[in-house]
């Protein structure tokens, strides 16, 4: 593999790693604060799955790193512009309805993205995808169950979910937007076909919103930038909290 193709493959893997890590970090913020004990445990467990998946991706990204950085260095010591996660996952938790809506949108997309990656020509990527999708299947079942129940619940629960959807839908476009790196990885048989992912994502999420009596807003301009390191305002604060231990105590280990 040429140095450039290795670098590109690593960037692709880092996108997957960062998505799982950053949404895992956001979910962890609920630990000890969720509205009910069962929700607290469920949120922490989902975060655990996602951070575990992130570790698998980071271990591979570390293998591909031409500067020899470890998985911890990649996960915890890059600067904001070097994180390649989509904007959706870094959005603040807001209320619990907002967190659930963010999770529902993410889970459905994550499922179809991983489904595509299980067919990757890269054996490590397909192995991690095959392992992760079993966990994500369960995440989908949980978040969709809650969205459907709360969407058809009280006026208040319905209102909160609709407001969350109005707030978050603008970040959904980026999820399936292909750029040059996606095209290159797809051509090599390594990456997922995002147009196929988009078709399935839209069909499933439309059905989910319908069952939950929710309506996605019509949005003229979808936010984008995270995949190339251009993040929203809240990303800096998230990183400040996530990185503080490694920054103040370099090389700290558990």
């Amino acid at each position: 593999m040429s140095a450039q193709s290795q670098k590109n493959l690593q960037q692709y893997v880092l996108r997957l790693a960062d998505n799982a890590l950053i949404i895992g970090q956001r979910l962890s913020e609920w630990c000890g604060h969720a509205p009910a004990l069962e929700e607290d445990i469920a949120t922490a467990n989902t975060a655990l799955d996602l951070i575990g998946q992130a570790r698998n991706w980071f271990a591979y990204a570390s293998e591909l790193d031409t500067d020899g950085r470890s998985e911890d260095q990649l996960a915890l010591l890059r600067d904001e512009r070097d994180y390649l996660n989509v904007l959706l996952v870094e959005q603040p938790n807001g209320d619990y309805g907002n967190t659930l809506m963010r999770q529902f949108i993410f889970d459905i997309w994550h499922f179809y993205l991983l489904e595509g990656l299980t067919r990757s020509a890269d054996a490590t990527i397909s192995a991690i995808a095959e392992k992760s999708i079993k966990e994500v299947n369960y995440h989908v079942s949980r978040s969709s169950d809650l969205i459907i129940r709360l969407g058809n619940g009280t006026e208040e629960s319905h209102g909160k979910l609709q407001e969350a959807l109005n707030n978050l839908w603008r970040y959904s476009g980026e999820l399936t937007l292909s750029d040059a790196l996606d095209d290159e990885m797809l051509a090599l048989g390594i990456g997922a076909d995002l147009s196929g992912v988009e078709r399935k994502f839209q069909a499933a999420i439309t059905r989910g919103f319908h069952e939950a009596s929710l309506v996605a807003p019509k949005i003229g301009y979808m936010q984008r930038g995270g995949k190339t390191g251009v993040h929203s305002e809240s990303m800096g604060r998230l990183l400040a909290e996530m990185q503080v231990m490694q920054r103040s105590h370099p090389n700290l280990t558990w």
Partner: protein
Amino acid sequence: MGKRLNTQYEKRPDIAQIWAWLEDVPDPEIPAVSVVDLGIIRDVVWNKDRLKVTLTPTYSGCPATGVITLDVQTALLKHGLDSVDIINQMTPPWTTDWISHIGREKLKAYGIAPPVGEASCAGMLRLGAADMPDIQCPRCDSLKTELVSQFGSTPCKASYRCKNCLEPFDYFKTY
């Protein structure tokens, strides 16, 4: 040829013996069952005078994975095996279908309802609550039980309540 090999590695304990030793290594989070019962040990083979043990992680983020590697290494060291390579293998992904019959009985005796049915393949996305099979209370065997939470004290479990004896219990999710 076979004879020469035997002489060369005569100090190698045989594989069946090593499996028996591993059956004494408890799962760190559910000590009632061993890592062998759970199907976490996939393979044990000799490569000349080095032993290769292949493990498979259960859930991606399961904190027990690192401890299990260490526990297996320590247990083998206690039996004098110091040239051991532990390989963590992700494919095929671990499934509860690999939990042995004995493992299931031990889980139930410990108060954890063992997984019901075979793991379905993750090929289809379904919206809404997963179809949960009837779960039998590990204490009173009643089938009148209800799901309290899809998650429990470890990633592999869900929380249930028995409507007959009123006891809460863990269910080892089919996965």
